[in-house]
């Protein structure tokens, strides 16, 4: 259950982004979480709801974009189907993860007076 530490880092990242705009209110936070990033979106949401009280994210709703895992052949670019052996059937190269391990803060929205 490391989602609380992720939320702690998320709030720190938002604080860094807001910087010196102390009059601004953070209204929304949008994150991308990859399917195999090792982060459970349900737990992340729960952790966020608990943790954001008293932080600058107190008034910010969080949206999570779940990014599906995508494995590809590094040589021919062929997509490796889900559940298959992670090797290109043509080139026999080990696949690489083209998407799916993101733990990214995409954007925040600030309300300014």
């Amino acid at each position: 259950m490391h989602e609380y530490s992720i939320v702690q880092s998320l709030v720190d990242s938002v604080a860094a982004a807001v910087g010196t705009r102390t009059d601004a209110v953070v209204r929304s936070v949008r994150v991308s979480i990859g399917e195999v990033a090792g982060v459970d979106c349900g737990l992340l949401t729960t952790a966020y709801e608990v943790f954001r009280a008293g932080t600058l994210c107190e008034n910010a709703a969080m949206t999570i974009d779940r990014i599906p895992a995508r494995w590809e052949c590094p040589l021919c670019g062929a997509a490796i189907p889900r559940g298959a052996v992670l090797q290109c059937p043509q080139c026999h190269e080990p696949a690489f993860m083209a998407a799916g391990d993101e733990i990214i803060l995409q954007r925040v929205e600030l309300e300014v007076a």
Partner: protein, 236 residues
């Protein structure tokens, strides 16, 4: 207030960021990594379930090294320093990180511990992560490689259930091989197939810390990988 139409709405200013949420951990990890590489230290982030045999792997590793001074270990657990104490008895200089409630080690914990561990003459540093197949895979510690200990008693589909850790692994140590005669239903091919579906370039070493079977292969892998790292640093 909105300056455009006088509607009375406040202004919402979007900030496009695209920043890694764990950027601070990653930068500390990079600092650790540089520290290790400059000193010729090959660092293994050893992960696996509780009871998968991580500490036993390190005890067996120590038996293969005539000069224990070349090895060091940091053992992470929620509570107790039992693993670190076992490793010290095995001849590896070790310290413990008691994480309290944290289910994983992070780069800052490792960095802090480096100030308490004498790494003079050390060639291999083993970071025995908290027993857990999920959380440790998320945090870069500055390691050279990720190694997962998976015991043959854990079930053939464990890799499929915990894909993240195996996707990031450089090597899987299939441990407790000596128990196989007592496990008529365990299919080694099924384990290998499961690993191949979650680990793109599966390297698997079968071993038993009980009778040291396969430990030589593991130590040879470590030496080979360390030599490659040292070569890379020298050529850079």
């Amino acid at each position: 207030m909105c300056q455009d139409c006088g509607c009375g709405d406040t202004n919402l200013v979007p900030l496009e960021l695209q920043t890694r949420i764990l950027a601070r951990n990653d930068s500390t990890a990079e600092h650790n990594r540089q520290h290790f590489r400059e000193r010729g230290i090959f660092t293994v982030n050893l992960m696996g379930s509780p009871g998968s045999g991580k500490t036993a792997v390190l005890e067996a590793t120590a038996r293969m090294f005539k000069n224990g001074r070349r090895l060091a270990a940091i053992a992470g657990d929620l509570a107790t320093d039992n693993d670190a104490a076992r490793l010290v008895r095995a001849g590896i200089r070790s310290c413990a990180i008691e994480t309290g409630q944290a289910c994983h080690l992070d780069a800052e914990m490792v960095h802090h511990e480096l100030h308490h561990l004498d790494l003079e003459g050390v060639e291999f540093l083993f970071i025995e992560n908290v027993g857990n197949l999920v959380c440790p895979a998320v945090y870069d510690l500055g390691q050279s490689v990720n190694v997962v200990a998976l015991s043959v008693t854990e079930g053939e589909d464990k890799p499929l259930k915990y894909p993240t850790m195996f996707a990031k692994a450089d090597l899987v140590l299939l441990t407790k091989l000596d128990l196989l005669p007592h496990l008529p239903n365990v299919d080694m091919t099924a384990i290998r197939n499961a690993i191949a579906k979650v680990m793109p370039d599966p390297h698997i070493i079968r071993m038993s810390a009980q009778d040291d079977a396969g430990v030589d292969g593991w130590v040879a892998w470590l030496r080979e990988r360390r030599a490659a790292q040292v070569h890379e640093v020298v050529s850079a």
